[in-house]
């Protein structure tokens, strides 16, 4: 995979993870406005989704052959989906 494609893919995954996290917060705000019970552990999944997605994109776009960058991307994305 070329560096250009790897960089595009990594940042696309990061953008998707961040968008899902933003949507999650929108849902949390909606639930709070309805005074309904809310998922308690929201802080840790948010830090996982945002932190790993951004750092994963940084690493994977600069060092596409290094597995750590892609693992971080995957952790960020799966964290965002799970949080959503």
């Amino acid at each position: 995979m070329s560096t250009r494609i790897a960089s595009w893919l990594a940042w696309a995954v990061c953008a998707l993870s961040l968008a899902l996290t933003a949507l999650t917060f929108l849902l949390i705000a909606l639930i709070l406005s309805l005074n309904a019970p809310i998922y308690f552990y929201w802080l840790e999944p948010t830090t996982i989704a945002v932190g790993y997605a951004v750092i994963g994109a940084f690493i994977a776009s600069r060092l596409p052959s290094h597995p750590i960058g892609w693992i971080c991307c995957a952790i960020g994305f799966t964290g965002a989906v799970e949080h959503f």
């Binding site: 809310i38 830090t47 597995p67 799970e82």
Partner: protein
């Protein structure tokens, strides 16, 4: 339908995330396993993650932690799994235990498996361990110090904040380690964290101890039960006065205890500079200089060559 799908995902999606974290630890920092012997554990982790996720996905019940907004109580609710297979035993707890057991072994691979790492790799590992320690401390504070207090207190939110800092610190540390950006700053960071962590803890103890002691003395003298403002003022003044002397003492202790070689080198150089001001004997100075270089830099070989005096005089005559 959407809510049920999300509930189903929530039940098992944490398992692949945990599996990925296990592989992150196993492959950190160079993208390879610490040694050939760790291959079996890597395969076991992959199998446990896959089987655990499948079992959790078809489990008949789904567990969910929620915060009731009316009374702010933390409650655990169990709901039927929309894609669960009826009649299957609820395997959530055994699967959870099995998957979570992979974590400490993977963490050990960073410390034990890579104990022979030197140079850049060692610095990279230090970054990860530093972030891991903050995350661990945050979790200990949140789960074992503040959570047993029962309600959602300010202390629990302090614990949450520490977990968030540690949680974000993990990926940041990984980024610094892999991209090698300011890699060698970790030693200074660890030193400062030890010094200011110990200093903060000491000052908090002095403050609360001071408030309690002054209050007790005031009560004994006046017989009033109300906590006087004087106690707070006196304690604040005491910690303000103690800040710098205490910081210097803790810094000195940490340097001597954990950075012995660097501390000794600094002391040796300081002593040599002091000697330079008074010493006039060239032979003694030469010996001292070689000694200082040997002691502080520890080279394989050290010698000093001085240009012969006659040659320099002849040069001057020319």
């Amino acid at each position: 339908m959407g809510a049920k799908a999300m509930l189903w995902i929530q039940n098992w999606f944490w398992i692949p995330i945990f599996g990925l974290i296990v592989f992150l630890l196993l492959l950190f920092p160079n993208g390879r396993l610490p040694s050939y012997r760790w291959r079996a554990f890597a395969w076991l982790s992959a199998a446990v993650t896959l089987i655990g996720a499948t079992l959790a996905a078809i489990s008949p019940d789904v567990g969910l932690d929620v915060l009731g907004s009316s009374d702010n109580k933390h409650i655990y609710i169990s709901l039927p799994n929309p894609l669960g297979i009826e009649g299957l035993p609820n395997l959530f707890r055994p699967v959870q235990m099995l998957v979570l057991a992979l974590g400490p072994v993977a963490a050990a691979s960073v410390v034990v498996g890579r104990r022979k790492a030197r140079g850049v790799e060692r610095q990279q590992i230090k970054w990860l361990l530093y972030a891991g320690a903050i995350f661990f401390l945050g979790n200990v504070l949140k789960n074992t110090v503040f959570s047993p207090l029962g309600e959602v207190s300010w202390g629990l939110w302090v614990g949450y904040l520490l977990v968030a800092i540690g949680g974000l610190g993990g990926p940041i540390a990984i980024g610094i380690a892999i991209l090698r950006y300011r890699l060698y700053k970790i030693d200074t960071l660890i030193n400062r964290t030890l010094v200011y962590g110990a200093l903060s803890a000491s000052l908090v103890l002095v403050y609360f101890g001071g408030v309690a002691a002054t209050g007790a003395i005031f009560r004994a003298l006046t017989g009033q039960e109300r906590q006087p403002q004087l106690a707070v003022v006196v304690s604040t003044l005491v910690i303000a006065a103690l800040f710098n002397p205490l910081r210097r003492r803790i810094q000195s202790f940490i340097d001597r205890r954990f950075y012995c070689r660097k501390y000794d080198a600094a002391k040796t150089l300081e002593a040599f500079f002091a000697k330079l001001r008074d010493e006039t004997d060239l032979d003694a100075l030469s010996d001292d200089l070689v000694g200082v270089v040997r002691e502080t830099m520890q080279p394989a070989h050290a010698s000093l060559w001085l240009r012969p005096e006659r040659a320099s005089e002849a040069e001057r005559g020319d």
